[in-house]
């Protein structure tokens, strides 16, 4: 589950991780109010308006049909109100959102941290994530902050450092010092960085993050270390023990069809093809998508019905797949182990009858427990459903449907 910048920063503050302060608002008037608060608090005439969406590249991205960037600096309350007005309710298109963009419902009015002072400012990069191969968490960091880290990794891989953290232990002081030294810090900034990264790592493990990225990680002109931006991704499997974090979920950021599928315990991902599919098990579902492609079609979705392929879930699956007008055929592929094929077949028949007329060809491939009985049931039903037992037979039927 992804969090917004303002939500993530709020959580970091609870772990004593210093952040660029700000106030999230959803109206231009609220933005002006927030600006006034920040001005009193920090004594700085400048503030930043930051669009809150689940995608990166906001600074360079533009609100559709305008020249307004998703992150912009304002110098007084009127200015901030105007910028917030331009951004709120607009569609922000960045290189991560795709051409359709994302609607902006909230902006974060944030303090300007690039103020003048005794020392130069500097941007760094730091993230915490899981290293699958080593089965432990790794801190990845670089002196090249504020830019696309993938580009840094490609062009100057020697500028990226990694620190693996021993499982079950917090980040050790020598590791935190190593990170601060490698970033070239000394004096007060060094001490602040050691504290920052130690507390950040605690936040990562305590909140059950699967990814936590601070870019830019910022040294102010008076040697403070702050998170200016923050991307936080939580481990979905851990949400059962964090009801407070689950409540931060913003479903307006998610595909509505995928949210609906989730409410039926279906795992659905929309794709761009013309053959829908409904399968039990994630691996078999991906394999079925691959087979559709080899049979001359393109998969329209990933849909794992899990262990409960009954009339209700199959009907929900049918309705969800058929929302996509590009779908020319639907393949149901169930390997019945524990779930009996004849019961799945009855589910398909009931769902089909409940929906009424289905105008596109349905191919049902049921293999496993009671596969023969299932095939007989489907054939006896009189519905326009093609039935198969072998996977290769199903592939042939998909090919026929695509070419028709």
């Amino acid at each position: 589950m992804n969090l917004h910048e303002y939500q993530a920063k709020g959580l970091l503050k609870k772990f004593n991780v210093p952040v660029q302060e700000g106030i999230a608002v959803d109206t231009p008037e609220g933005a002006a109010e927030a600006y006034k608060h920040l001005k009193v608090q920090f004594g700085n005439a400048f503030a930043v308006v930051k669009a809150q969406i689940h995608a990166g590249g906001r600074g360079k991205g533009l609100i559709k049909g305008t020249q307004q960037h998703g992150v912009a600096v304002g110098k007084n309350a009127e200015d901030i109100k105007k910028i917030a007005g331009n951004i709120l309710s607009g569609i922000l298109v960045t290189k991560q959102t795709g051409a359709e963009g994302k609607k902006v419902n909230k902006v974060l009015i944030a303090q300007d941290v690039y103020y003048d002072g005794p020392n130069p400012t500097k941007e760094y990069y730091l993230s915490v994530l899981m290293d699958r191969a080593k089965a432990c968490n790794v801190i990845m960091y670089s002196t090249e902050g504020g830019m696309d880290i993938e580009e840094v990794a490609e062009k100057t891989p020697d500028k990226i450092f990694k620190e693996w953290v021993y499982p079950s232990l917090p980040l050790q002081p020598f590791q935190a010092r190593k990170i601060a030294f490698n970033l070239g810090l000394s004096g007060q900034a060094f001490k602040n960085m050691v504290k920052f990264v130690t507390n950040l790592y605690s936040a990562y493990t305590e909140l059950d993050c699967s990814m936590l990225e601070i870019n830019p990680l910022f040294k102010t002109s008076d040697e403070k270390i702050l998170a200016v931006d923050c991307k936080m991704k939580l481990d979905d499997n851990s949400l059962m023990r964090h009801p407070d974090l689950e409540a931060l979920r913003d479903i307006t950021e998610e595909d509505p069809t995928e949210v609906e599928a989730g409410s039926y315990n279906l795992n659905y991902v929309k794709l761009e093809g013309n053959v829908g599919c409904m399968v039990n098990g994630a691996g078999l579902a991906m394999a079925t998508m691959d087979m559709i492609k080899l049979s001359g079609g393109e998969p329209a979705n990933f849909l794992d019905v899990g262990g409960t392929a009954n009339a209700q879930t199959v009907e929900a699956g049918f309705r969800i797949i058929m929302k996509d007008p590009k779908v020319k055929a639907i393949l149901i592929n169930i390997f019945g182990g524990i779930v009996r094929c004849d019961r799945v077949a009855q589910g398909v028949i009931d769902a089909y009858k409940n929906i009424g007329e289905i105008k596109i060809p349905i191919i049902v491939r049921l293999q496993g427990t009671n596969a023969t009985e299932a095939k007989a049931l489907i054939e006896k039903s009189g519905l326009k459903v093609e039935s198969a037992i072998l996977l290769s037979e199903a592939a042939d039927l998909v090919n026929k449907a695509v070419r028709a």
Partner: protein
């Protein structure tokens, strides 16, 4: 001969009296698996499915001599169950539970590394030595005894492969469902090594999916050490980057963990890779015939 489990294995079920544990333990017993008891904290001393229930794994081992454990406990408590098994010296731990928090598995995997126990899973269908012993949730009737070993990240795709192999007249020696999570106890390479050293296994089917580098690692080992033919399949050739495809581990993060990259490496290492999941059994039969 067999791998990991056989007729001599003595199995306990953790989460024995729950719905899942009860159903699958009955199925395992029906298959002929030697289930000697189960563990449900607080229900020690009771009988369930005609077998004793214990409060702790320690008690269960003392009373039954169990050496294998299968775990059905809910995700929040599963890592704890794994560590309890490891602490008490269970040789093989099979964790079926899906949805264990990743940070829990980081701890459990580290804990395991200090013991002699082997973990299969989590989020897996389990292990079956055909005709002898089923420690898992797979439909037993599909796995007819024979000479092909299977290593797979996925559940139903394993059943599909086994069914094809059996229908091709070859049958199954041992099938190992290693699981689809980012952190698992036994990676592809180790499971392949076990089958490579098993005299009852003449060929190996290796099924992977997008995400991670386990298949590439296994393929490189196979290139150097293989004594038996290997047929491979990678699910997710049509999966888009950056989207999680059901399994927590099935997400394309970099260039190396796409299906195409994995299939290329596997082919370069001498594995016979099939494009279509419908051709797994047929291809294994062809490869064995041409030896």
């Amino acid at each position: 001969m067999s791998v990991l489990v056989n007729k001599q294995s003595k199995i306990i079920v953790q989460g024995f009296t729950g719905t899942e544990g009860t159903f699958h333990a009955s199925q395992m017993i029906e298959y002929g698996t030697n289930v000697v008891g189960g563990v449900t904290p607080g229900k020690g001393g009771q009988k369930h499915l005609d077998r004793p229930v214990f409060n702790t794994v320690k008690d269960a081992i003392a009373a039954t001599g169990a050496n294998v454990s299968i775990i059905f406990v809910p995700p929040a408590f599963a890592a704890d169950a794994i560590m309890e098994d490891a602490e008490e010296g269970i040789e093989l731990i099979v964790c079926i539970t899906e949805g264990i928090p990743v940070q829990d598995m980081v701890k459990a995997k580290n804990y395991l590394s200090t013991t002699q126990s082997r973990l299969i899973g989590p989020n897996c269908p389990g292990v079956i030595t055909a005709g002898e012993c089923k420690v898992g949730i797979m439909p037993g009737f599909v796995f007819k005894p024979g000479k092909i070993g299977i290593v797979s990240k996925s559940g139903t795709l394993t059943y599909e492969a086994a069914d094809q192999v059996v229908k091709a007249g070859l049958g199954i020696s041992t099938a190992i469902g290693i699981g689809g999570d980012p952190i698992i106890g036994t990676p592809t390479k180790e499971a392949v090594q076990l089958l490579m050293n098993d005299p009852a296994t003449e060929g190996i089917v290796m099924i992977g999916e997008i995400g991670g580098n386990m298949e590439a690692e296994a393929a490189r080992w196979i290139k150097e050490n293989s004594k038996k033919p290997v047929v491979g399949f990678i699910a997710g050739q049509t999966a888009p980057a950056g989207r999680r495809m059901g399994h927590a581990g099935a997400i394309i993060g970099g260039k190396e963990d796409t299906a195409a990259a994995k299939m290329k490496i596997m082919r370069e290492c001498g594995i016979r890779v099939v494009d279509s999941p419908a051709n797994i059994g047929k291809t294994m039969a062809e490869v064995l015939m041409n030896l």
